[in-house]
């Protein structure tokens, strides 16, 4: 009886405190596996390495790119590089199902809503921060290697980084939610690639109705916000489409986690 009282007394912890602890644990969980570092390294190589290549190209052929902002490199490179970070978001969720790690995870954090919130938050913050830092590094690398052939306007840069932050954050929530929903790494990766790249590009080849359908996919919003020039898309429609997908898939992933057995 005494032990029972002691146990109960020790179990009065606020929801905020539990969330804070779960976020701390999720950070350790994410950075304590090599896969995370590999995905970041691939994204960094793509953005910074190829950013420098764009700068060298500009320096070698001044008439073509003279006076262009270095942020143009980001427009071309952030799109493919985001997939390395979206794959990180997917595997951060699905690896727990692939290895069975979800079983101890839910023993340590049985409040599933808190787990989903903490995990999604941690992945989104890390992917967004890394994306923004790499985008800035990409522009700087292009500017540094271009030997004055490219410019580095601050206002343009801030707009570009804000777009990158939104696209990477929404894309991460979409990718993590697909992971929670499907629980399979292969299935989730294929779904994310289809939604974010393949279908938005492919559907535009098949006439009006297919193009209209493409405009409703999150990849169209991402391509418009990062690269610009997507017929039928505006900034507002891109934001709405990406947010709607992130919220809908987030809800479905939450329902799957909440209502089904932990590891089936």
């Amino acid at each position: 009886m005494t032990a029972q009282t002691v146990s109960d007394m020790g179990d009065t912890v606020s929801i905020g405190r539990i969330l804070y602890r779960t976020v701390a644990a999720e950070q350790t969980r994410l950075w304590s596996v090599k896969a995370t570092w590999w995905f970041v390294a691939v994204a960094a190589t793509l953005m910074v390495g190829l950013g420098a290549v764009v700068g060298f190209e500009a320096a070698a052929c001044p008439p073509d790119l003279a006076g262009e902002p270095a942020w143009t490199a980001v427009r071309f490179l952030a799109l493919p590089a985001q997939f390395a970070l979206l794959a990180l978001a997917v595997t951060a969720v699905t690896s727990d199902y692939a290895t069975g790690g979800i079983v101890p995870t839910l023993q340590w954090t049985p409040r599933r809503t808190i787990l989903l919130t903490a995990r999604t938050m941690v992945i989104a913050v890390i992917v967004t921060s890394v994306g923004v830092i790499l985008a800035a590094a990409c522009a700087l690398a292009a500017f540094a290697t271009a030997r004055s052939a490219l410019t580095l306007p601050l206002g343009d840069g801030l707009d570009r980084l804000a777009s990158i932050a939104f696209v990477f954050a929404a894309g991460t929530v979409i990718a993590a939610s697909v992971g929670f929903l499907l629980r399979s790494t292969a299935g989730a990766l294929v779904t994310v690639f289809l939604l974010m790249l393949v279908l938005p590009v492919l559907l535009r080849l098949f006439g009006e109705w297919a193009s209209a359908l493409a405009e409703l996919l999150p990849g169209s919003g991402a391509i418009f916000l990062i690269g610009g020039q997507v017929p039928g898309m505006t900034t507002t429609s891109s934001l709405i489409v990406m947010l709607a997908w992130a919220l809908t898939l987030g809800l479905l992933g939450w329902l799957r986690l909440l209502r089904t057995d932990a590891h089936r």
């Binding site: 146990s7 069975g100 079983v103 340590w108 954090t109 049985p110």
Partner: protein, 311 residues
Amino acid sequence: MIEVRGLTKRYGHVLAVDELSFDVGPGKVTGFLGPNGAGKSTTMRMMLGLDRPTSGKALINGRPFASFAEPLRQVGALLDPSFMNPGRTGRNHLRVAAKTNGIPPRRVEQVIEKAGLAGAAGRTIKSYSLGMRQRLGIAAALLAEPRVLLFDEPINGLDLDGVRWIRKLLRQLAEQGRTVLVSSHLMSEVQQTADHLLVIGRGRLIADASTQEILDGLGNRHVRIRSPQPDALFSLLREHGLTVTRIDAHELQVENSTAENIADLAHSFGISLHHVSEVRQSLEDAYLELTNGTVEHQSRQASDPSAEGAR
């Protein structure tokens, strides 16, 4: 204290756990016995809120497991030791667990030491043997010194040293007043460690009694006798209402009696005996008798005509 009430789990048409009800009390080791597919692991997963019961409930210290803010301080559990990310080090696995429940980092080092993993904690789990993973899972279960411990087949993969360590640990935990539930299909192992047994078969509770009661209470103590006058002895024992079986020309087996009773009886009627011995049923025999007909996956016997026909 664990309370299970009407716990049922159905997967489509398969009834994995069928209206299980039992209590597991503190201060003793309770063995959870059953053949493969009996529903032991499913029951444990439902106790831990991992699987959703079709009906019924499981309470730990009076509450559903999922309601605890600091579950590791209430329940330590080892389920399948392969359920870990192999790319993480043992130490980091425990650090993640500790952070979720606000456990200080020094406790991680203490349980690493206690589990005998000090030399391996910095290595990734993929380099661990099954026994080392068991030890790591047990270390995680002990992290916050919980009052309730659930171990699913904890000696699987352990070497002799590990098995002795587990036996000693289970006894220590029970002596400290903790509630300890250990599942196993190794009857001989449970016989050595458990004070109380829950036996299930095909998801149903078959027995809920002390280990001694299971051994004694099934009416399986029998006496073997060798005599130069087996026929006379056979008739005498039958006349006294005892169940007697003839083993061979000179040997008899008497159910539910004692060597003293049989020897006294034979002596009083002038029948000489060459051998009298009491044979107690092993827990394994008791278990097989209890679970008879409830085994989900049974190997075919060589005499099975259908097996013969299939060759």
